[in-house]
Amino acid sequence: MSGAMALFVVVALGAIGWIVARARATRMQAEAGRLATNSLPSQHGWYVALWTALPALVFLTIWANVTPALVLDSVLASPAAQTLPADGFTRSAILGEARALASGARSAAFNPLSTTLVEPFRAATLRYGGMGALLAVILAFAGGVYGLSRVRPAFTARNRVERLVMWALLGASLIAIITTAGIVASLLFESLRFFSMVNPLDFLLGLKWSPQSAAMGYGTKDAFGAVPLFWGTIFIGAIIAMIVAIPLGLMSAIYLTQYARPQVRKWMKPILEVLAGVPTVVYGYFAALTIAPALRHAATTLGISGASSESALAAGLVMGVMIIPFISSMADDSIAAVPQAMRDGSLAMGATTSETIRKVLIPAALPGVVGGVLLAVSRAIGETMIVVMAAGLAANLTLNPFSSVTTVTTQMVQLLTGDQEFDSAKTLAAFALGLVLFVVTLLLNIVALRVVKKYREAYE
C-alpha cells in the first residue's frame, strides 16, 4: 500500500510544483514585462511539475522491481530462516506462502514453518517500502526545488517541455515497432527450440498429427505432422467460408450500391456491418449449438457417412457469414473507384444495368475485389473461437465437409491450455504453428495490399 501512497504523494507534489511555479512566473512576468519573458507562466509550471514528478516516478518504478529481492535477502538473513530446509522446491514454496500470509492474500498456512517467517517478511516489506517512499519524496522535493530555482524571465521553459513532449510522442509510436519485434522474436525463439526437437520437414510435410503421443513419450517423429491442420484451416477458412462469403458479400455490395434506394442503403449497410461486430465466441456458440446439430441431422437423413456433430461445414458456414461485411465493403470501395465514364459509356451503348455491372464494373474492379478476398482469407484462417467451438479436434485429412477437421488455431488453443511445462515439444509446437500462421497472414496481407494499390494507381 505504501507504493500507492508514495505514487499519490509524488503526483500531488507535482501538482503543487505546477501551481507554485505558475504563480511565481506570473509575478515575475508582471515585474519584468510580458515581452521580456520567454515562456508563459503555465509552461514554467509544467517544467517544474515534470522535474518534481518524473525522476521520483522513475525511481519508484525501479524500486518496485528491486524490493522483492531485497526483502527476500533480509528475510533469509533473519534468524527464523536458518531452520529452512535446503531443498530448493520446498524452500521456495514456504517462502511464497509466507509472503502471501504477510501481504494478507492468504489467511492460513499449509506449512507451519511459513508462519514463523511472516514477521520477518512483514518487517522487511515495511522497512523497504518506507525507505522507497521516503527516497521518492526526497527526490520529488529536490527536483521541485531545482526546477523552481530555474524560473527566470529568460529561461526557455517552453522549449524544454516541448522537447520532452516530442520524445513522448516518438516513444509512443515506437511501441508499434517494439510490439512487432516482440511478436517476431518470441515466435522465432520458441519455434527454433521446437525445431531443435522436431525436424522442420517432418513438421511442414508430415501427415500425422498426434501431440498427445509425443507427450506420452512415443517420440516426436510421427507426432507433429501439421499438414492435416493446414488442410483443415484452408478447407474451412479459404474454401467453405469463401464459398459462402464471396457470392453473398459481392451481390450485397452490388445491390446496395447499384440498385437499392438511398433510404434502403442507409439502413441495410449498418445492419450488415453488425455481422462483423458480433463477437466470434457468439458465432462459435451459435455454430456449435444450432448449425452443427442441424447439419448433422441433414447429413444422416441424406445418408452421408462420417457425419460428426462437429463439422467443417458448420464452422465454415458461420465463418463465411462473419466475413460477408469484409468482402462487401471491399467490393463496395473498388466498385466505387471505377471511373464514372466507363459506366456511362456502357450504359450509353445500350447495355442494361446488370450487363454494365457484369461486363464493365466487375472486370474493372476485379483486382480490388481479389485483394479484398485475400484480406478476408487472411482474417478467416486466423479466426479462432468459431473453429475451436464448432470444428472439432480430430486431425482428419478429409474432403468430406460433414466430418470433423481441426485447424491451426484450434490446435494452438488446445496445446497451450493444458499443462504448462515450457520445455515440452507439445507446448512449443503451438509457437511453431503461430509462426506459420503469422507468416502466411502477413504474406496474404502484403500481396492483397499490393494488388489493391496497383489497381488504384491504374485509375488515378
Partner: protein
C-alpha cells in the same frame, strides 16, 4: 432504347434477322431475355442482402429465445417447520455480531432437505436448488422470530425442475406437475444471475464476476492503448520526418492491425507471463495484451481524424505565433477528438468481445469470486461464455445465451455511442 427505331429502316412486312431490326421478333425476344436477366440479377442481389440480414436476425432471435429464460428462475414455496426441525441454532445468537457464523453452523441444508421431503414427498430434496440455503438464511436473519414456528419461504428450484418448468422437458416433468398442483411453483427474476460469479450448479451461477473482470481488463486496455495510440497518431501525422524509420513504424502499425488476435495471445504468454512473470489469468496481463491489439486500431482511426482537420487551422495558429506543440495540442487534437473517440470505442468494443488471446494467457480458470484488483485471477465475459458453452449441464445453455445477451447489449451500447458521436460531431470543412 426499344422504341427508338431508326428512320432509315424500310417498313417491310418481312421479318429480317438483321441486327438493326428493332421491331423484329428475334430482337424482341432478345430484349425480353436481357430484361429478364436484369430482373434476375437484381433479385439475386436483393436475396443476398436479405439472406445476410436474415442470418443476423436468426442468430439474434435464437440467442434471445434461449437466453431470455436465463434471466428468470423457477421458485418453490417451501413450508418449513423450524420448531420441530433439526436446526441447531439459538435464536439469541442471531442478534449479535456472530449471527453469520451461528447460522452457518446451523445444519441448514439438512433442515431444508427434510422440509422438502415432508412437503413434496420422497425426492422433494432434489427439487430444491443448493441455493435454497441462502434464501432461508436471509429470511431467518431478517426475522429471527421465524425459528419459533413454521414459515413458508420462497426458494429457487433445482436445475431439473427449473428446466422442466420452463418447458424443456426432462426427468423432472412429473415433479413439476406435482408442484404445480400444490400451487407451490412460481417464476421470479433471477437477480443472482447479475450478482454472482461462476459456479458448478447452473441455478447458482452469475455473470457479475466475469463482468467485473471485463471492466477491469477494459480499463487497463483503455488506459494504455488510448494515450499511446493518440500520441503515435499525432507523431506520425504531424511531426514525423519522411524517412526510413517512419516508414518502418507505419508498416508495423498496418501489419499489427492485420495480425490474428491469437498471435497477440502468444506474445502475451511469451513476454508478460514467461519473461516478466506477471500473474497468470489477471486483468493486468489481459488488459496489456488487448491494449497491444487495440492500439493499431486507434492509431489508424486517429490518423484519419487528424488528416481531416484542414491545414488552414494549423497555418492560422502558426501565424499568430503558436509553437508546433501548441498548434497540435490546442487546435488539431480538440478538433480531431470526436473522430479519435469513435475509433477508440470501436476498438474497445472489439477488445471486449475478444476471447482467443485471453485463453492463451490462462484466463480460462474457474474463478468463483469477483476479482478485487488487477492482479487477482479473473474471468471475462466472452471467456465465461466459452467456459459455460463447454459445460455438460443442460441448465447452462440458457445461462450461456443470457450471458451472450448481456455481452451483445454492451457492444450495442458502445457502438451506438460511437455512431452518435460520429453523427453529432462529424464536420464537413
Amino acid at each position: 432504347m426499344t422504341s427508338a427505331a431508326p428512320l432509315s429502316q424500310p417498313a417491310t412486312g418481312r421479318r429480317t434477322a438483321a441486327p438493326t431490326a428493332w421491331r423484329g421478333d428475334a430482337m424482341r425476344r432478345r430484349i425480353a431475355r436481357r430484361y429478364a436477366a436484369e430482373r434476375r440479377f437484381r433479385l439475386l442481389g436483393l436475396a443476398a442482402v436479405l439472406l445476410s440480414a436474415g442470418f443476423l436476425a436468426f442468430l439474434l432471435v435464437t440467442m434471445v429465445g434461449n437466453g431470455a429464460r436465463g434471466f428468470t428462475r423457477t421458485e418453490i414455496a417451501l413450508p418449513i417447520d423450524f420448531q420441530h426441525s433439526a436446526i441447531l441454532i439459538d435464536p439469541a445468537a442471531l442478534t449479535g455480531p456472530g449471527a453469520e457464523q451461528a447460522i452457518a453452523n446451523a445444519n441448514l441444508p439438512a433442515v431444508i432437505d427434510a422440509a422438502a421431503n415432508t412437503a413434496f414427498g420422497e425426492g422433494g430434496a432434489r427439487m430444491i436448488s443448493p441455493g435454497a440455503q441462502l434464501a432461508v438464511r436471509k429470511a431467518i436473519l431478517a426475522d429471527p422470530a421465524l425459528l419459533n414456528g413454521a414459515a413458508t419461504i420462497t426458494v429457487p428450484a433445482s436445475e431439473g425442475v427449473d428446466l422442466a418448468a420452463k418447458g424443456h422437458g426432462g426427468a423432472d416433468e412429473a415433479a413439476v406437475a406435482r408442484l404445480k398442483q400444490a400451487g407451490a411453483l412460481s417464476t421470479g427474476f433471477n437477480l443472482r444471475f447479475l450478482t454472482a460469479s461462476d459456479g458448478t450448479d447452473p441455478t447458482l451461477v452469475g455473470i457479475w464476476g466475469a463482468l467485473k473482470g471485463s471492466l477491469l481488463t477494459m480499463s487497463i486496455t483503455l488506459g494504455l492503448s488510448f494515450p499511446i495510440g493518440v500520441f503515435a497518431a499525432l507523431y506520425l501525422e504531424e511531426y514525423a520526418p519522411r524517412n526510413r524509420w517512419t516508414d518502418l513504424i507505419e508498416v508495423s502499425i498496418n501489419n499489427l492491425a492485420a495480425v490474428p488476435s491469437i498471435i497477440f495471445g502468444l506474445l502475451g504468454l511469451a513476454i508478460f507471463l514467461n519473461l516478466m512473470h506477471l500473474p497468470r489469468s489477471a486483468p493486468l496481463v489481459g488488459g496489456m495484451t488487448l491494449a497491444l491489439m487495440t492500439m493499431p486500431v486507434i492509431v489508424i482511426a486517429g490518423r484519419n481524424a487528424i488528416k481531416a482537420v484542414p491545414p488552414s487551422i494549423r497555418d492560422a495558429a502558426l501565424g499568430i505565433g503558436a509553437s508546433p506543440v501548441q498548434v497540435v495540442f490546442h487546435h488539431v487534437l480538440p478538433l480531431a477528438l470526436p473522430g479519435i473517440l469513435t475509433g477508440t470505442i470501436i476498438g474497445m468494443a472489439r477488445a471486449l468481445g475478444e476471447t482467443a488471446p485471453l485463453l492463451m494467457i490462462g484466463m480460462r480458470a474457474f474463478v468463483a469470486s469477483p476479482p478485487h484488483g488487477i492482479t487477482d485471477p479473473a474471468s471475462v465475459l466472452p471467456v465465461q461464455i466459452f467456459l459455460w458453452s463447454d459445460e455438460v449441464g443442460r441448465g447452462f445453455i440458457e445461462k450461456t445465451s443470457a450471458a451472450i445477451i448481456v455481452l451483445l447489449l454492451f457492444l450495442l451500447t458502445m457502438n451506438s455511442i460511437a455512431i452518435y458521436l460520429r453523427n453529432k460531431f462529424e464536420k464537413k470543412w
